[in-house]
Symmetry: C2
Subunit: 400 residues, 2 copies
DNA sequence: GGCACTTGCTAATACGTATTAGTTGGGAGC
DNA sequence: GCTCCCAACTAATACGTATTAGCAAGTGCC
């Protein structure tokens, strides 16, 4: 049962036969290697002519096989990139990666399949008794995304990989490092037992600058609403908050650092409470990747019970996705997502080109977006302290 | 000058040595071919264990070279997918492809590199005198996107490919067919010398239905504004327009088919001219992929000099991208982009699974979006004919 | 004529995998 | 003891290219 005489592409050998030279000569002519200067002009012409006539196209697979590299960059995200509600968050990264990869002549491999139910069947039938994760990496469950499935690392199909995502599996990252697989994380990520390469936004500086600006405007009691997860970006923002306060000579009040479990919880009533109870004059909010915060802000601003910034200044520690023109221009800083992604690609390619896989860690500054939601402390509240917890060092911190 | 001990990926041979079997056995175990049933359970276990320990991953290039499969689907677009102004057009396709590929356990290969300036340098230094396109496929220029670059077809590292885009290079498509490379086009595309597979929206029926609806509302003079390019989608819409008219018993007036070179040319003055001069009561507009039409419509509707549908009905032959909530809900039909893309992936996988690469051509229906921009013919204009070109068969067709 | 050197080419090999045609060892059947 | 067969494996090869070592012929020089 031979394949039904499938139409075969012409190869260098075919050209060689037709021209009466060797395959090696054809290769030299076509790919113009170092020794190609030694080919007689007449021969070169003949070979090129034959190639043209026979419609020769080089086989990329063969070339890659020979070179050991596939000119493929992977893009792996720990969360799905494509659900509609997060598109605006991930899209700029995607764009940046794609663009830079294209510029560098690499193609992009989107790891979509990993972490699907189908994974079990990936490498053909497997005995039910066989261990699914013999690779020392534990915790591989079906529905969740993970790099190591069926015990093997599919990322390796690519020459290297750009990683993205908030809910990282640390153990997989360190496994990658142990394997010496070249990758770059977009965003600062740390794992216990290894150093890894990343390109990160400078949340510390950006948050610090925002606090400084508020302090300059006279604010002394600035509430910081942090995200629930204890990830690096959140920690960096907190760090920036503390540094900003310190540089402004403000003694931090732990009661003014609160965790916002769900952005939808951010209501006008809460803000009124905080103003009255805690005596705050400004609010820093850490945005989420989906559009819940944007919605909460919009409805909150819609009530007009508290005017920003007339009654209270408000700034965002990053830019929320789903930005539509009619949304108000909140004061915030903005991370250069596309540039970060492009930079990550460049770093990755450097890693690939150089033999030493020493980790590289880059930090890029965020852009300050002035917006219109911060202003000076309202005149009637200058110097006013809240009724409760008057002392800055008060630790009677009510649970949110 | 040996390569400085580059960290090599482990191969089947490495596993074979470690396990004490032959490379062939390893291959049989790993890729689970026909003869794999004949492998002893103990051997299989040992091989798999070694593979896991050594972090083995199959080499894509080698598999492709051999004709094997990599569970990789390519996505090639003739225009760049990622420019911001077209994002809303391509995004749903991307989403659909990604989702279905993931569901089927395939990863996605985005061909970004092809057609960049860097291409010339892709495979190392090249003699200035060397021909850039020895491949018989002519017209390969640097800045433009093209499949065959440097004489090779890079798509081949994927098992098959989904193609997308309006400005297609026909000669490349037929080259692909000649090579017998499996691919599916999203959208109907025809080339002279070959049949190809596609999943297309039924523009003919959708446009016809829209015309029928207008006819039902009493419209007799319906202007059709077609796009400049003479691509299949445009031709199909025209076909649908004519069929719709025919079925409604309306004699087509060639003066009512006009080409709109630039959507920005669509102004309220024009519409007034058409209403007065041509006596039209309804307008069918073919949308573009960017947001120019959307803008033109918005500004036009903003003037309120012509009320839609009170003075004139207006419907769109497809959905324009960049849909924001505050935009009005134009009557139109909507193509199920994500579903089309998903269907294309399924068709492609069928092609891959079956050896026969007979082309498959699927058509999917569009969704009718009632909207609010069509209505009955204004009472004072029922039966009214324009001052000039009264006869339907008038051919005094002024150039737009 | 012999040596060194250049020019223009080829033979051979490697890349990593899949597949086919064997080969081996041993047990069943007579 | 012989054949026959089967399970379990391996050797060999092909895929298409890039590269290196080397070969043959030619040229210049002593």
């Amino acid at each position: 049962m031979a394949p039904p005489e499938r139409r075969r592409r012409s190869t260098q050998r075919d050209i060689a036969q037709r021209t009466g030279v060797s395959q090696a000569t054809v290769s030299l002519v076509i790919s113009g290697g170092a020794a190609s200067t030694q080919i007689a002009e007449s021969t070169r012409r003949a070979v090129l002519a034959a190639a043209d006539e026979m419609g020769y196209t080089a086989n990329v697979a063969a070339r890659s096989l020979k070179g050991g590299r596939n000119r493929l960059l992977g893009l792996y995200t720990f969360e799905s990139v494509f659900p509609t509600d997060q598109r605006d968050f991930y899209y700029p990264f995607l764009l940046g990666v794609e663009e830079e990869a294209a510029r560098q002549g690499y193609d992009l491999l989107l790891f979509s399949s990993t972490g699907t139910d189908r994974d079990a069947a990936r490498f053909g039938p497997r005995e039910p008794g066989a261990a699914d994760t013999p690779a020392g990496v534990s915790g591989t469950q079906a529905a969740e995304r993970s790099i190591y499935v069926g015990g093997s690392n599919r990322l390796k199909i690519a020459d290297g990989c750009v990683l993205l995502g908030r809910n990282v599996r640390r153990e997989e990252l360190s496994a990658l490092v142990r394997e010496d697989f070249p990758f770059v994380f977009v965003g600062r990520r740390e794992v216990d037992d290894a150093e890894l390469s990343y390109v990160a936004a400078d949340y510390v500086a950006a948050t610090g600058a925002l606090v400084a600006e508020l302090a300059r405007l006279g604010h002394r009691r600035i509430l910081y609403l942090r995200a629930l997860e204890d990830s690096e970006p959140t920690r960096d923002r907190e760090e920036g908050y503390r540094r900003g306060l310190a540089e402004a000579g403000i003694v931090p009040d732990e009661a003014l650092i609160r965790t916002l479990a769900d952005p939808a919880d951010l209501s006008i009533e809460r803000v009124e409470e905080w103003i009255g109870g805690l005596g705050i004059t400004a609010l820093l909010v850490e945005p989420t990747e989906d559009d819940r915060l944007t919605e909460a802000l919009a409805t909150m601003a819609g009530t007009r019970r508290v005017r920003f910034p007339a009654d209270c200044s408000l700034a965002l520690l990053g830019d929320p996705p789903c930005w539509t023109p009619e949304l108000r221009d909140w004061t915030r800083f903005s991370l250069p997502r596309a540039q970060m992604a492009g930079q990550a690609v460049r770093v990755l390619i450097e890693l690939l080109d150089q033999e030493s896989h020493e980790p590289r860690q880059l930090t890029v500054p965020c852009a300050y977006v002035p917006g219109d939601s911060i202003g000076p402390v309202p005149a009637h509240r200058v110097g006013v302290r809240p009724g409760v917890g008057t002392e800055p060092e008060s630790d009677g911190r009510p649970v949110t």
